[in-house]
Amino acid sequence: MRRKINWGKGVGIGGLILYGIFILFPIYWTFNTSFKEIGDVYKVPPSFVPTRFILDAYRFIFQGTGRIALLNSLVVAAISTAIAVVLGTMASYAYSRYPFTPLTNEGAQFNLLTVRMFPPIAFLLPIFWMWKRFGLLDTYFALIITYTAFNLPLAVWLLKGFMDALPRSIEEASYVDGYSFWQTIRRIVLPLIGSGLAATVALCWIFIWNEFIIAYLLGGRNVILYTAYLPSLRRGMRIMWNQIAALSVLAIIPSIIILVLFRKYLVKIYLRS
């Protein structure tokens, strides 16, 4: 019995290894490329393992606009995510607890979703003209508000599921036990939807962090996000692959941190939907 080879399991593991290579190789290749000189990038055949760690590309990113673009992205993503999650928490509580007012009934809840049904580009032109008319194009404000507008419905929708799963009687018990509404929210509701909050933070963050079109259209000169900065990394006709790779490696870091921290909760939210 012990000798018997479990073929199904073997094939499964083999498949996973192949899949892993397929997923991880581009990341590895980016990493590899970021340590090369631009001349080596175009060499055929390429070197699969970095022989020398040349930090020129990183130095370029850190000294120039790249650093500013990364910081801009961090600022915009952090503020916008924070706003979306805070407003989303409050709104989802209202949607969950008072589903009969004109602002929170079924129709209103459906309207929330419609924002997400259209591709962002469908809204972008009017949004572009709106900010232009306000003279707010290329500002933190415009970018943060626009991202928040796209993320808020998502946040509300995700958090509402968690709020719905929370029995009303738990809050009532807390009131009777002597806690006010806000104390109850802080001590009972928020801890209990903690995993939902974590997942929502992660998803909102990732949407902004990976987003290109809005960053490109609404920002670009004064406020340049790293996604909008990436395509400008070339010299004449030559694409500076090593610099792009270096910026990408740096850009992956926050996403990895978030994914690792919130992995448990993200799985939960995907399982739920």
Binding site: P167, S169, I170, E172, A173, Y175, V176, D177, F181, L192
Partner: protein
């Protein structure tokens, strides 16, 4: 500790559903009052209004002489047990029980002492460090009760606290509650649909139906002198027998004609029944008050046994004559189906209700 006074309390949900209808009720200080009634009779809504979780549509609530109608629950100083045990998930049993004390900023040492005290009363001292949400339903309800009795509010509100636990725990907890109440001497409102629970626990019972208070009195009073047929039917196991009769006069004494049989009421002061001569009344008698004889005796009416239910050391016997079916509760004995028995209606136990209003007729 406080007296609770409800004045003309009315609750209408969404402008349509009348849940509680002009309820006026005084719950005496240190009293244990049971709100008794079938599901949907408004007893839970009444409770929630006392707790402050529902805002009355009309009417007022007083604790002693202070009006609390507009106070939010956290400022009323009440403790409430919900029908389904509400524990705070993620907290340990200790944290759960200590939660209301923490709200009142009780010093840590004191909290520990009081939590351990109350945990001993409910026999959950050994699970204090466990997470509360992994416990079974019975233990959870004990945690909830402990959290309620860890402090001394104006009034304890218990909303069917024993329905979600298994029968053996229920009996155990009922005893604990009764002891606690007499020991603490605190005002307590106990909502239940189980009349036997109300009869064993309460000092006074408020019977409700369709949002209205039907009768308010001691268990004996409610049991012996139901104000109307609903109370008579709802209290007792099984409930009171009702027989529709018309009142006739025969040779100077009153006869209740139930068509299938007739009951003579010779000794009763005739005055009150005479007013009803020619009218419909309802005769009520408790199953345990019917006399059953195996042989014919004078004044007894013959019935057929159609069903026998053993209940502990007693039998509930269903008896039939013509269209009429009666239940009798008698000591356990040999009783076979289709057997003929003789039933006597002892006069002292007869209750009379108006055939139209279903209200009791005062003798």
């Amino acid at each position: 500790m406080a007296k609770v006074y409800l004045e003309n309390l009315t609750k209408i949900f969404e402008g349509r559903v009348l849940a509680v209808d002009r309820l006026t009720l005084e719950i005496p200080d240190k009293g244990l009052v049971s709100l008794l009634g079938p599901s949907g009779c408004g007893k839970t809504t009444t409770m929630r209004m006392i707790a402050g979780l529902e805002v009355p549509t009309r009417g007022k609530i007083y604790f002693d002489d202070q009006e609390v109608t507009d106070l939010p629950p956290e400022e009323r100083n009440v403790a409430m047990v919900f029908q389904f045990p509400v524990i705070y998930p993620g907290m340990t049993v200790f944290e759960n029980i200590a939660f209301p004390l923490v709200a009142r900023k009780v010093p840590k040492k004191e909290v520990k002492k009081r939590v351990e005290e109350v945990a001993n009363v409910f026999g959950i001292a050994d699970v204090l460090s466990k997470k509360a949400h992994i416990l079974d339903a019975g233990t959870r309800q004990k945690v909830v009760l402990a959290r309620t009795f860890v402090r001394r509010p104006h009034v304890y509100l218990l909303d069917e606290p024993l329905t979600s636990v298994d029968p053996s725990t229920r009996v155990e907890l009922r005893t604990v509650l009764k002891k606690l109440q007499s020991h603490l001497g605190q005002t307590m409102v106990y909502v239940t649909h189980d009349q036997s629970e109300a009869l064993t626990l309460a000092d006074r019972i408020a019977v409700m139906n369709e949002g209205k208070l039907l009768q308010y009195g001691s268990p004996e009073e409610v049991y012996n002198n139901p104000k109307n047929t609903f109370v008579g039917y709802f209290i007792g196991n099984p409930g009171m027998n009702f027989i529709g009769c018309s009142v006739e006069e025969e040779k100077g004494s009153c006869v209740l004609n139930a068509e299938d049989f007739r009951v003579f009421v010779p000794d009763l002061p005739n005055s009150f029944l005479r007013d009803f001569v020619g009218k419909k009344i309802i005769l009520g008698i408790r199953p345990e008050n019917l006399e059953i004889h195996a042989k014919a005796v004078s004044g007894a009416i013959s019935f057929l046994v159609i069903l026998v239910e053993p209940v502990g050391n007693r039998l509930v016997v269903h008896l039939k004559k013509g269209e009429k079916v009666l239940k009798a509760k008698i000591p356990r004995q040999e009783m076979s189906l289709q057997q003929e028995v003789w039933v006597r209606f002892p006069l002292e136990f007869l209750k009379f209700f108006d055939g139209e209003t279903l209200e009791t007729i005062e003798v």
